[in-house]
Symmetry: C2
Subunit: 525 residues, 2 copies
């Protein structure tokens, strides 16, 4: 739809919790507890018909009794009560709704009916926006707004997180706490009755605090809107997506879960590329990839130079690079000459550049400087193993300085645990992505490469396909209703073609001929 | 060769440090510092011709001056001094040598000559064993013996670690410290002038404290010996190998590093399978895989049942499983019936088994019990996301109990950080491998599957190929010397066949015929 009134949901002054409760195991309890006493500067109204106060806070018996109309109402009551509550919110002038309650589309026909009733009520109030139902809620750490039943509040940060799985949200929050990751917005979208992922991407796009977006996708229904929002955002800031349901078996599992077919994975893959979205395949890469793409300049190509103080890890890194279709840079003769001057005689004389086990910080740093200038090199990965003569911390400082004004990405793999921890912090402060294994560093580099490629595609293709046609849905519905009730699972050639034609996709037209003469005759038509 | 006298190296009573030093940046300093004051119950002799004492310990000017012949001599002096020192050790009756010094084969012709001189000296003393040169040394935590220049000592444990890269050793030690991993033996083999990886596997095989072996391999030269040692060990305990140099590019990097061609990766792959060795492709999987295989029974097949309290992660897990060629188990009708009785009506009715977001510990545990009994199921993966109603700790306890007497592997993915930490500890104590993402759990499961397959292959094939033949090396050398000096890079058909024949491999024999008659005649030969 649009971003209209989304500020009522994400920047409310007055928030009502409908179904606020004193029972610690209830959703209405957790939502209220999360909203009050945690720094939110607006006012929170508990709504509960049976109590004077909830959690010690003055409660109201219903929406009409509230002293002011809330901007946002968070609904936690059982599904059958929701349509009537939506109407009451609308009548009070509340334009932002988060419906946490479950028991809608995801439980079948009965729930679908309820969802339609909610939609019918919503339609009566122009501009009313609904997030959910069947979601965990929203968190906006910047204004200490936690309108969710998550167990914890994440820190303020620059990642916008949008998830179709409420259950995954709880895991993601817990990982984020462990890793010190912060969010600008944290949204569980649920069934997307109204507010869609596309709307949210649009809304986050105008917010400067959001520097990257992470999506957890199960299926996209509003494809066109999603694509145009994603393309607009991705022009300036990265979107990272994890999409479950890649194979037939998993798509089946997804269908039994959400009631929606997950769609052919290749279609998503192509769409992500066209929209400039970087896809990840391991959920653990989520934060890392989002931060990486937001902080690093994309490389011009995939030619990596490796600088290492040990041969074995150089080989290991080359393996990881080639496996992921990256390229070892062919360093130029001029670079070779400069490295010959710098390095001891038994250096590797090629890429990976082995600066040898006794390399002091300065030797590392000079090698980085030399290789960065090579026009055959798109990015540099510096690998350190903490050997007897190695100073991981001072080397990180020297490399950080050497990379400070580079116009190419520099990544670091400081291989170890506590011995390299300080060096990793130095890299972090210097904005250099650092990892404790070379494989992780290569994975990061290849994300940069494919993100850069996607950006290129994004800038090359026209913004929107000029696509206009009038679809005779009525006629088609007739045709397909017949087919479906007759239990045909495979469409005949003719029906398939009729279907394609009604979408104005050109098709060949076979004509039957029973003899050579008839064939000749038919060919003249 | 054999395990003869390896106990002189790994269980010494008297240890000499030749080249012991007071200079904190020298190898001889670190080796001596690691050996004394850290709990080793033998006696350590510093050897230094210029000092009365090193690090406050009475020093000796040379090997003949020592009060007793050491069992083990650790040599840290410059390469050119080593051959003479080996002779002196031999004359003193020292049978165990660790040569840490670098400057041998790895630096070229000059170093190769020195290595030959060392070999010549060694040959004069029957039973003398040499580890190295060009290595980090050895650590035997069980007897507090750290005869290496590593920066730290690892804990005692059940993993035997053997590495061809000294630099990697330092990283591995640091990771191990962070993760609390212990070792029975920690060995950097260096150039393997004498003691080979095969010898070490044989030696560790007879030691009960070693429950698994991790190998970091760059290239194997003594293939036959390696294979038979690995096959013998792998029959009862797992070997996990990381082999660098998988692609042409990386093999080239390896060649410039070690001076040895790394060999075609497919050959290694096949050899590992035949030897029952489980290969890993990410260095970070090293410990995890070794511990997993040592602790878990191998599954009968690759059919995995997934039990989860959230749909999304179930789909994610199915993706990871199918991507790695695993199979979703088809649970039987009987199991379906039992699950129908147990679970709320809207459970997923299939595998993944979604026990739903409100699942109490008991529901999880009963589902595990039911699914474990299904004969179509080879292993069970239990996934938990910490939702509002979820108790990760109590659920881990219940699942642990349900899995206690199972004859199939049970794995757990408790998705989160601090919220699930206690549950992970419970699993750890119960011997159930647990991970914080489903992808890692699936990776572990597939390691179990491929290990089980390799074990089967191992038990099916004959122990040794009955292979006896006398090879006319002298004649062959003549042939090939000519070819090589003539710079032919590709062997002709005839030369190739002659080569194969001399290894008693049957070949077809083409005979030239210039006419039909001649062909007929030739065919009668």
């Amino acid at each position: 739809m649009s971003i209209r009134n989304l500020d009522k949901i994400f920047e409310p002054h007055r928030v009502a919790v409908i179904g606020a409760s004193d029972a610690p195991t209830s959703v209405g309890y957790t939502v209220l507890r999360n909203l009050v006493g945690s720094g939110f500067r607006g006012v929170v109204y508990p709504v509960n018909p049976k109590r004077e106060a909830v959690q010690g806070i003055q409660a109201y018996k219903d929406i009409p009794s509230l002293p002011h109309a809330p901007d946002l109402a968070v609904i936690c009551t059982p599904a059958p009560s929701v349509p009537e509550l939506v109407r009451q919110c609308g009548e009070a002038g509340t334009m932002g709704l988060v419906i946490i309650s479950a028991g809608f589309r995801e439980i079948g026909a009965e729930g679908r009916k309820l969802e339609q009733m909610v939609r019918d009520e919503q339609r009566k109030f122009k501009g009313m926006r609904i997030l959910g139902p069947n979601c965990l809620g929203i968190i906006v750490p910047g204004i200490h707004l936690n309108a969710s039943f998550a167990a914890a509040s994440p820190a303020k940060g620059n990642i916008g997180f949008i998830s179709q799985s409420g259950a995954l949200c709880t895991s993601v929050l817990d990982w984020a706490l462990d890793e010190g990751i912060g969010f600008s917005y944290f949204v569980s979208v649920g069934n997307m009755l109204d507010v869609s992922m596309g709307d949210l991407i649009d809304y986050f796009g105008s917010a400067t605090e959001t520097r990257s977006i992470i999506l957890y996708i199960e299926s996209i229904s509003e494809a066109r809107e999603f694509m145009s929002a994603a393309r607009a955002f991705a022009r300036t800031k990265p979107i990272v997506a994890f999409k479950a349901g890649r194979f037939t078996e998993s798509a089946q599992a997804a269908a039994s879960h959400t009631g929606a077919m997950a769609g052919v994975d290749a279609v998503y893959e192509a769409a992500f590329q066209r929209a400039g979205i970087e896809r990840i395949f391991q959920v653990e890469d989520m934060f890392d990839c989002a931060e990486l793409l937001a902080r690093q300049q994309p490389p011009k190509g995939d030619r990596l130079a490796i600088i290492t103080n040990a041969g074995g890890p150089g080989v290991m890194t080359t393996d990881a690079l080639i496996e992921r279709n990256g390229k070892l840079a062919n360093i130029t003769d001029d670079t070779m000459k400069q490295l010959n001057d710098l390095l001891p005689i038994c250096w590797s004389h090629g890429n990976p550049v082995d600066v040898l086990g006794d390399a002091p910080p300065d030797r590392f740093a000079k090698a980085v400087e030399i290789v960065l200038k090579d026009k055959e090199v798109d990015a540099v990965l510096v690998i350190l193993t903490p050997q007897a003569m190695t100073d991981p911390t001072a080397t990180a400082q020297a490399v950080g300085k050497a990379a400070a004004h580079a116009h190419k990405p520099v990544l670091a793999a400081w291989m170890g645990g506590r011995v390299v921890a300080e060096g990793m912090q130095i890299f972090n402060a210097a904005g250099i992505p650092s990892y404790n294994t070379p494989e992780k560093a290569v994975r990061a580099f290849m994300h940069l490469v494919s993100y850069a490629r996607n950006l290129e595609i994004l800038h090359e293709t026209p913004k929107d396909m000029p696509l206009e046609f009038t679809l005779d849905r009525q006629r088609l519905r007739g045709v397909f209703d017949t087919i479906l009730t007759e239990g045909e699972e495979i469409l005949s050639e003719n029906v398939s073609k009729a279907f394609l034609e009604s979408y104005e996709i050109p098709v060949t037209k076979p004509l039957a001929a029973r003899s050579a003469d008839e064939a000749v005759e038919v060919s003249h038509r």
